[in-house]
Amino acid sequence: MIGRLDDLRRQVMWTRLIAIVEEQAQTLMRTAFSTTVRDAGDLSAAVFDTQGRMIAEAVTGTPGHVNSMAEGVKHFLAKFPPETMREGDHFITNDPWLTAGHLHDVTVVSPVFLDGRLAALVGCCCHQLDIGGLGQGPDGRSIFEEGLQIPLLKLASAGELNETLLEMLRQNVRTPMQVEGDVLSYIASNETGARRLRDMLVEFGQATLDGVGDYILEQSLAATRAAIEALPDGAWSSELVLDGYDAPITLCARLTIRGGEMIVDFAGTDPAVPHGINVVMNYCRAYAVFGLKCVVAPDVPNNYGALKPFRVEAPAGCILNVQRPMPVAARHVVGQMLPDLMFGCLSQALPERTPAEGSSCLWSVQLRGETQARGAGVERFDTVFFNSGGSGARPGLDGLDATAFPSGVRAMPVEVTEAGAPIVIWRKELWADSGGGGRYRGGLGQVVEVGGRFGDGFEVLAMYERVANPARGRDGGQDGAAGTVSLASGAPLRAKGLQRIPAGDRLVLKVPGGAGLGDPAERAAEDLARDVEDGLVGARVASGLADR
């Protein structure tokens, strides 16, 4: 249907919209202060029609944000109806239940006006490093301990910043200037998007985004439906056991494919726990759908239409649909495992397209401490750097070594991290032999060793998964190596919770490997030889082969 003039113009606008959201994301990374945003890209940016339906999103984002924001904008519209919005208004919240699942993710939504009329909405959601409270760890017993809660509020009215809110914010965080700088960067990003969007609407003679929005959503919905309709109908169940905080947690899923829809039901999943690893419904839906979409319709641009054929349900009160005021700060340790659970279901329906389980949960090294060694009084620090384990083997391909999946973030450079805090990262390299053997092997994990720059002790806010429950191999593939958390001096540490690294000692993390796919005996000889020559595979896999 592209041989029609109107359709062509809509396609040109679609191309433009994707460029606009990318500009928004770029502006965020260039002006933000949180390393999570500026170096790691833990953010999302999107445009919405006047009903709050997501029309386009930046590919820079991370699934937990993007798909959560797709759900969140309707709450802004309910509280601030379009007829009350004015040009220069900006709205904000970090309510985990309305947006991205923990207080550190701040969402700002801004109306776009054209000729005095609401034409569209733009929004961004960013991981704010400092939101006060305990810091991002699983130790809070309720949301009230985890940091400052910002309800749905006006951040600016007709261009005037809400100084009361900003003062409140500054008073409640450890690094007030940077946090305010971050909030200003969200506005700068939305304003960039709004400006470009207005230019585009004027150029194409559109009063609002709704016309082209309908077209985009219809096309995307139809393409996703077609992709799902090409799959076998049926229902498949799977379970995944996680380490949990102090006791294992079982996640259950039943996937039904029927009539061009994919329905996921998490009935049977364990209840929420009194530690901050609980997942709100938005975030649960975000990662579950992401896992399905990667396999089923990866090339359909992400928007309201593309997401519509996926339905996700979870019983209220289970760990995947936690209710207020349970703690949620480290919800990613459970949420990021959901694609693996989806792969468990999909591998029964579509074995030829579904990867094996991976390390999945991002291993963030969140440290804090102080030193007086520089002779300039007490120097406090609070720092984070990201580390990824191996992804699961893929049909026809090995898993990716030390690569974030499903998270979309990037690792910070070691030199930048060390320049910003008095720590030394003594080791950060691939963990040989940690990928599960298989016809296609799992991606390798990595080893990370970190100490105080001047030998001082420091604290780690541990939130690590797959220490007791490694990634499971499939079709004869072996499990990935389980992770470990310990001191360099030898004593093991708990995988979750605030702990102290004594002076002179170091924290050692072995970030898990991904699982293998298929019989290791079928692995291509040259691939095995290359791995052995490169020292990536040795004793563990070799012994696995000998056992057969």
């Binding site: 592209i2 041989g3 003039l5 062509l8 396609q11 040109v12 679609w14 191309t15 460029a19 500009e23 502006t27 260039r30 002006t31 202060f33 170096d39 590919v59 200037m177 940077q178 305010e180 700088g181 700068a188 960039t192 096309q219 995307s220 139809a222 393409a223 990667c294 990866p298 090339d299 359909v300 990867p355 990201f386 990824s388 893929r394 391909l397 990716l400 030390a402 690569t403 999946f405 979309g408 990037r410 690792a411 450079p413 070691v414 030199e415 930048v416 060390e418 320049a419 030394v424 990262i425 003594w426 080791r427 950060k428 390299e429 691939l430 990595q446 720059r453 490169d534 020292g535 990536l536």
Partner: protein, 701 residues
């Protein structure tokens, strides 16, 4: 080759650009210009070059002794990186960091694609060895270099037949002694192996980018060194005794010796030449704000030129595994002309994606099999097919009439996109999408640069740019487009316009208000001396100028903006000046400053150049004669969304002062300039076509 200065007693200057397909050579002799295109001779690239040079000398009636300057650029280093035909390369790095090159940013460049492959490091793991020794972020030594480990590495490299070694230790930008000590050991043990040190190749913070750059340098160095030495010898044998300069990615020129040491700095020399070419047009015409659009068969390059200088960047990505996908290539941290390159050109193939969206590129039919209308076996619809079906290209006058185009084959190919569709509408769709892609890339680039687009003059060169520049200008709101002469060999012409220059960046963190002036001044003086030395080597007689830049940000941010600083010792009062410059630059780019926050400088840059080209300015001619085309052709007009009657003229029939009304096609041997209905076309004093948008006079008819 004699190291004399540019011999102004001799008239002729030769620029040569070895590209992936063609070797372009340009000879300028006063007002005369001769050019030729030859197929690149991969087995010995200097052969096509020397043959082409001989051909042009004959045409011009000159001998090698008449040549006063040769400037050379080449894509050989780039090709070696893309096709992985470099040296067996070892990498010696800090213990605990063997896999930095492999792990990179630990991310996926495509969020949803489960089957991505990451670029393999140029040095495989078995050739990446480590040595103990650790430096902290502030340059203090935490553990001494383990020299025994370096010696063991030397043995292992020798046993593995390594030809080139890169050395990269953590924080070596702050403390390079460990790298130098390791290099001394390796040099003694491995006298035949070339060594590249990260503290010399790219002394900047962020280990992945620095190591990647250093290893890339090591990877191409033996090959480039051998090629450059061979070229030097062959030129001497052929009795050329003028200086030979190499074009850098930064748009400056350097000596052959420096190029052989830091060949990674040559990778974008061709596109840099194009940017310099555009800058020379800006200088001739006095254009302050320019947008250069260079569109060839496979890619489009877009670059901003302010005040006659191309914008600069400190890095880019080469050899992307997934063409043009950001993050899928090898990062190089080198001074480079800031440009975006997208997979959009005359040969770009149109296809439908799963959602039924029309996409164009990045796959290209290239020259083999070429677009469907070439009749050489191509069956996929390309941008050139679309141009033909829309009526923009005369099937009998393409490539000076050497290739007759087949419109029916083009229509058949286009109908693959929608069998029920009208071929002309489909062609329009292809053209619109590719133009939109270029316009979008331009806008996105403007955001990254904090620059505006609408007030710029566009200069269009490369075979496919004149066909599309008018429409892209409409999309961008640009009011003027210039199509210069010699557009087909623009890069080689640009080489002859480039200054001899060298640029050095160093990371050193200083907080504004507390700058260690003594330390900074000493560092800048040392950088300046090095850069002056390298430039002096290339142009002993020429006057040199120096520019210094600081890269600053608010403490806590991750990106810097550039601030020009005075090229002299900094004094106490200079900090307040720097603050002011920073704040105004920041406000311009992001709307508002953050007054309470401290500002820090991370990186310092010194740029020394000499022998800048000065344009021969000509008096503007204005519009003297209106020309009415004698032939007309039906052409699909994108702005109208319908067929319009376009005038057709041959470019060689026009002279300075002529002007015509659009819609118009100006046909020449290598390309056609399409002037949309809203534009007038005039010929300026230089013989350049100037497309000007007429002021709006109510609704278009």
């Amino acid at each position: 080759m004699a190291r004399s200065g540019v011999n102004i007693g001799r008239r002729a200057r030769i620029g040569s650009d070895i590209g992936g397909t063609f070797t372009d050579i340009v000879l300028e002799d006063g007002e005369r210009r001769f050019s030729t295109k030859r197929l690149t001779t991969y087995d010995a690239p200097e052969r096509a070059l020397l043959e082409g040079v001989a051909e042009l000398l004959t045409q011009a009636g000159l001998s090698p002794a008449d040549v006063g300057l040769m400037v050379h650029g080449t894509t050989l280093a780039t090709n070696a990186l893309i096709s992985r035909r470099g040296a067996v390369t070892g990498f010696l790095t800090t213990e605990g960091f063997r896999d930095v090159l492999e792990m990179g940013s630990e991310s996926r460049f495509d969020q949803y694609d489960l089957s991505i492959a990451k670029p393999a490091p140029l040095a495989p793991r078995r050739l990446r060895l480590t040595a103990g020794g650790r430096v902290a972020a502030d340059g203090e030594v935490l553990a001494p270099l383990d020299e025994a480990a370096v010696e063991r590495a030397a043995e292992a490299f020798a046993a593995a037949g390594v030809e080139s070694v890169a050395i990269g230790f953590l924080h070596s930008y702050a403390h390079s002694a460990h790298e130098r000590a390791a290099a001394a050991i390796l040099a003694e043990r491995l006298p035949q192996v070339s060594l590249s040190l990260s503290s010399e190749v790219s002394p900047e913070i962020r280990e992945y980018e620095r190591f990647s750059t250093t290893v890339a340098n090591a990877y191409v160095r033996p090959l480039m060194d051998a090629y450059l030495r061979r070229l030097e010898r062959r030129l001497a044998q052929a009795a050329f005794d003028c200086p030979l300069f190499l074009m850098l990615s930064s748009g400056g020129l350097t000596s052959l010796d420096t190029a052989a040491r830091f060949p990674v700095r040559l990778v974008e020399s061709g596109p840099a030449g194009g940017a310099i070419f555009a800058a020379s047009v800006a200088a001739e015409r006095g254009v302050e704000r320019m947008l250069a659009l260079d569109v060839g068969g496979t890619t489009a390059k877009i670059c901003f030129i302010d005040d006659g200088r191309p914008q600069m960047s400190q890095g880019f990505e080469v050899a992307r595994v997934h063409r043009f996908r950001k993050g899928s290539g090898l990062p190089l941290r080198i001074p480079v002309v800031e440009m975006v390159e997208i997979g959009a050109g005359g040969g770009s193939i149109a296809h439908l994606d799963r959602v039924g969206r029309l996409n164009v590129g990045p796959q290209s039919a290239a020259s083999e099999p070429g677009p469907a209308c070439y009749g050489r076996g191509g069956t996929e619809p390309t941008v050139t097919d679309a141009d033909l079906v829309m009526g923009r290209v005369d099937p009998e006058a393409f490539a000076a009439g050497t290739l007759s185009l087949d419109p029916a084959a083009a229509e058949t190919a286009l109908r693959k996109l929608d069998p029920a569709g009208d071929a002309r509408l489909l062609a329009f769709g292809v053209s619109e999408i590719v133009d939109e892609a270029m316009a979008s890339a331009t806008r996105a680039h403007a955001v990254e640069q904090g620059a505006a687009v609408e007030d710029r003059t566009m200069v269009a060169f490369g075979g496919a740019a004149p066909l599309h520049a008018g429409r892209i200008a409409e999309k961008l709101g640009v009011a003027r487009v210039i199509v210069p002469r010699g557009a087909g060999v623009g890069s080689a012409v640009g080489f002859l316009r480039a200054p001899i220059g060298y640029e050095i960046s160093r990371s050193r963190r200083e907080r504004l208000g507390q700058v260690d002036l003594g330390g900074v001044n000493a560092m800048l003086a040392e950088m300046s001396e090095t850069a002056h030395g390298l430039v002096r080597q290339g142009a002993p007689a020429a006057e040199r100028s120096e520019r210094r830049t600081a890269y600053a940000r608010y403490v806590g941010q991750g990106y810097e903006i550039s601030v020009e600083i005075p090229a002299r010792m900094l004094g106490v009062g200079d900090e307040a000046v720097l603050l002011e410059i920073f704040e105004s630059a920041y406000r311009r780019q992001y709307g508002r400053t953050i007054p309470q926050l401290p500002i820090e400088i991370l990186t310092w840059r010194v740029n020394v150049s000499a022998g800048a080209w000065a344009p021969q300015l000509r008096e503007p001619v204005g519009r003297l004669r209106e020309i009415t085309p004698s032939t007309w052709r039906e052409v699909f007009d994108p702005a109208a969304g319908a067929v319009r009657s376009y005038g057709v003229v041959r470019r060689e029939t026009l002279s300075p002062g002529d002007w015509l009304r659009g819609p118009l096609l100006v046909v020449e041997d290598q390309t056609t300039t399409v002037a949309p209905a809203a534009f007038d076309v005039s010929v300026d004093a230089y013989g350049y076509l100037v497309l000007d948008r007429r002021p709006a006079t109510g609704a278009p008819s």
